[in-house]
Symmetry: C2
Subunit: 195 residues, 2 copies
Amino acid sequence: MQKLIEFIKANTPNIMVSQKALEKIVDHFEERILGKNDYLLKAGRNSSYFYLADGFMRAFTYDFHGNEVTTYFYPKDRVVFEIASLILDIPSTEYIEAITECKGYLASCESINKLFHAMPEFREFSRMMMVREFVAYKERTLSMINKSAEERYRELLRNNMEVLQHAQMKHIASYLGITDTSLSRIRRNFLKKAC
Amino acid sequence: MQKLIEFIKANTPNIMVSQKALEKIVDHFEERILGKNDYLLKAGRNSSYFYLADGFMRAFTYDFHGNEVTTYFYPKDRVVFEIASLILDIPSTEYIEAITECKGYLASCESINKLFHAMPEFREFSRMMMVREFVAYKERTLSMINKSAEERYRELLRNNMEVLQHAQMKHIASYLGITDTSLSRIRRNFLKKAC
DNA sequence: TGTCCTGGTTGCCAAATGGCAAGAAATGGC
DNA sequence: GCCATTTCTTGCCATTTGGCAACCAGGACA
């Protein structure tokens, strides 16, 4: 649990969280280990709240043509959840999958709500987590609007190098909004330029 | 203020908010009227929190080539704010502009924070507003990934018809991630098909 | 009424990306 | 180490989108 405690401390910059409060918070979490290709969340189920201490995950869904679309990659030291499902308490439309072995700490929707209203420290923390994810999505949308596929690929590598080690090309491709064929070509150019 | 009160009631579905609580909340807001082309927020300033009772707004920013990019359209009956600036208390990178005459109610960042920690009712409400915007962004990102420009245009019209009455084509185009030239062509095909 | 200005459209061609099918490379099971 | 399977790359051509410049239409205004 120490990692979770450190993580919460690091992400409540505006307030000093007492040791007691931290312990009260982490008390609602339980350790969870996922093997490669295990699901943290399946479509139709409700999302819980997961601090990913170690490993690498991805979220995906299916569009109406039945194509799988990778919506997100989660490196370690992030909280992992599907916002609409968690907060609105509705079934998720997304799957979240461990793409390496993963270790972390899990809390239920009810725990999150309880903590959210009971503890100002957790309010700040969870709001911070939500804002972080929201801002990431905003940036991503902006990239989709005004950057080429190649620029988006560069950007992904710059911000999240591990993705290359862990994710398949077709997943990276659909995350970037292109086909795996196009990604392959982009990578070829990329290598050429690098030489 | 009655519209704001109704709006808050309508968006706290899980709890009954007392009249007293509602009054305490709206007490932190003040009426604000914006003329066409007035700014609600400018880049470099900090975002406040605005309930748009009537009118139509858009958010935009500049990419590093200096091109203006429309990031969002706000129809009436929405809260309008730049999430990163508001919550992290940093200068905004976005502008938010009234594209028709607008009327609404404004609260400062400090008021929002105060209410957020002091009143469970407002916590629920503001979390709901944040989730709604977040989910809208997620859907938009998904559209950018797996829909063609034409499909995105149809979708925009379906969900937000007023945008056509109020916004310029070039703003709609950059919102959709295409050039105004392409949008014009798409509209032509669109009309052909409609006949 | 004529002129300027802005916003929207069009034609022409270039660049980016997709679709499909085949081939090459990597991976996993035995 | 070998085969089967999956993942990644490539070639060929179609489609989508962009860039630019010209053009058109409507409103503002002298």
